[in-house]
Symmetry: C2
Subunit: 406 residues, 2 copies
């Protein structure tokens, strides 16, 4: 009998009614003769309420007590799910992270799952039970509750899938899956049936908020097949898997775009080692997230131009930091608000020449000027005027045949 | 250095503001060079909210998952208290029952604390820490969370005081202490400085809702000095201790009265073994709480009269049960609504003759008819017309000098 891990996010267990629905979904897998392991987040809103309380207690609330506080949210959700399954006649129980146990390393509020003890859960599965495990948390070697930082319950589910050698890890959430582009921005966006980890990583970091990059990376490293699907609509979702599992690769899988970006260009920077570091170190220190970075080869071997993008909300802060930076030499400094980054992503690009050209031609045909270009193995990103974003999105989505059902 | 156990009830930690106040109280004891162990309930309202959720999930919610669910409430409260103490510069942390551990026996939702592992907490105390322990819960021998039934967090605090040989267990609550009678019923009610366990037991079971009888009994058996006091007003409360510790015993310590009682009399019942059982077994089965039971000696050796009281809300149910009971023989059945039980309580009675007479005389002087009398070593209870309750209370409170400050 194969093991499947089902993970439910906060919105999926956000109300009692939804928890009942979740129990029905779990029961369906049990009927299909799977060994089912469930991982749940806290009911939506609960964690934020608890965090709000911690702020009211102290603007510098203890990290270790923070973990005790917020971990109670998953405890509540898991007991309610288990309670519902028991009500439906199934053998089920909540498993708190200290009961499994799930061992973590690292600091409070930002731990990593290091080891999951399999014996008790395996015994419970073999006896026909459905374990409901608290996501987002573990215990450290001092027997204290920890929470895992980035990735949250998704990361828990993926590592549980790894340790139990699950056939699949299904992430139930409030979206139907991963789309060719943001359906809120483009109605013609289509759900992607299968996507590689690498593409998904590019999609995720570019704004498809389905899963956190760190969790996708965990899945990729451990070769866990993930399905992202809706807990509200009974439709298959998107399978995130390794490239070789995807038979019918499109050239371009998805298009993502950012908004509210600003461009910063340093013209005539000395072309010598350490310059980029001198620019980006103080930005990083001030928690300014630098996205695209482009530097052209030096024309005369002495000077170069360096361009990068940041969120527009960080623009003023960035201006100050650069202008006050005594370690920098440049001839000119140019800031530009209201730019957008638009990226086409697809592993098919590697083997298909001319994708770059088709992208540029499509934009040119629409009279859209490209400000900056940056490419990776499976992604081409360009910077354009913000006002052209929608026009570009429509044109590229059509050009790469993403409007068509696969 | 002496150990003191401070227990805070749900209303004492009901808001963030109150939790901050609680942290100040704890800090005061720490400054007085006590080793302080704190036990906390859940924030008021939280447990009921969780129970409501469980009902929505199932009208027969799993008992073991119920314990997981509701125990989260104390976890939240303890982390917030510890967080506040840390904010104030103290060494503190939450201790969940599985971390101590606190071991229980018995069934879910109704376990009893059996053993408390002292080593970790003692080490923590010796290192200057203030442990904040979750009340109302423990773990069983299967490593599952349990909650203790009656007594709740009070019982946890008292047993922690026992295992750690605490000098005193202070129950912080929303009342100032134990009063000579319900201050809501009689303005002249005075706070009692010291009361014996036995008196407190009678007071508690008669309606002084300060502490549950089971917790007082635990304290009595383990000779734990309990102080009940308010977490909102800085005033000494009531010390509950053993009789011999109380120097200045009054004859009567307190007066309590019940309302909404009904009286049931079976006239001419056969005076033979098993009759009382035949009457009360079906009542008990139907969860009808029988309070006062009085049976006089048989005048002719064949027949007797039996009277008992119940809550008026149970009257119709009780009528049916008795009338349909085929095992009963009686000549007449009398029901009387609107009766009150008024009781005077005091260990001083044992050594002071004439208390009964004084009580009866006082009531007679006010023209109040006594329907039924029942006495124990330290208590005299009478049944009177409900309409006379207040008059009786005022007269008796004055007669036994409870109006005067002690």
């Amino acid at each position: 009998m194969k093991i499947v891990v089902l993970k439910f996010g906060g919105t999926s267990v956000g109300t009692i009614k939804k928890i009942k629905k979740v129990a029905d979904i779990i029961a369906d897998y049990k009927k299909k003769k799977y060994k089912v392991i469930v991982v749940s987040s806290a009911m939506s809103g609960v964690t934020n309420e608890l965090i709000k309380k911690s702020f009211e207690i102290s603007d510098n609330f203890s990290y270790s007590e923070y973990d005790v506080l917020v971990s109670s949210g998953e405890q509540v959700a898991c007991s309610l799910i288990a309670g519902r399954l028991i009500h439906k006649g199934y053998k089920s129980r909540s498993w708190l992270s200290w009961q499994v146990p799930i061992l973590t390393v690292g600091v409070h509020k930002n731990s990593r799952i290091n080891q999951i003890n399999r014996s008790k859960i395996l015994k419970y599965l073999n006896n026909g039970g459905i374990p409901i495990i608290t996501g987002f948390q573990g215990i450290n070697n001092e027997n204290r509750i920890t929470t895992i930082g980035r990735g949250g319950s998704d990361a828990s589910a993926i590592l549980i899938a790894k340790f139990f050698k699950a056939e699949r890890c299904i992430i139930y959430t409030d979206v139907e899956g991963v789309f060719t582009t943001d359906p809120n921005k483009l109605k013609k966006a289509k759900k992607i049936k299968e996507i590689s980890y690498e593409e998904m990583l590019e999609m995720a970091s570019l704004g498809a908020k389905v899963m956190q990059p760190v969790s996708i990376q965990d899945a990729r490293l451990n070769r866990i097949n993930i399905e992202v699907r809706s807990s509200f609509i009974k439709k298959s979702g998107t399978l995130i898997t390794k490239r070789s599992n995807i038979i019918n690769n499109r050239i371009v899988t998805g298009i993502s775009c950012t908004q509210n970006d600003s461009k910063v260009s340093l013209i005539g920077v000395k072309d010598k080692p350490g310059v980029a570091a001198a620019i980006f170190k103080p930005l990083s220190k001030n928690l300014i997230n630098v996205d695209m970075v482009v530097q052209n080869i030096s024309a005369n071997g002495k000077e170069t131009d360096l361009t990068f993008t940041i969120k527009t909300e960080d623009l003023n802060k960035t201006k100050k930091i650069i202008q006050q930076n005594k370690n920098l030499n440049y001839r000119n400094l140019i800031f530009e608000k209201n730019v957008s980054k638009i990226s086409v992503i697809g592993v098919g690009m590697i083997t298909t020449p001319g994708v770059t050209f088709r992208m540029f031609q499509t934009l040119a045909n629409k009279g859209i000027n490209i400000k900056v270009i940056s490419t990776s193995e499976i992604k081409i990103s360009v910077l354009i005027d913000k006002k052209n974003t929608q026009k570009a999105l429509i044109a590229l989505h059509k050009e790469f045949k993403l409007d068509q059902k696969k």
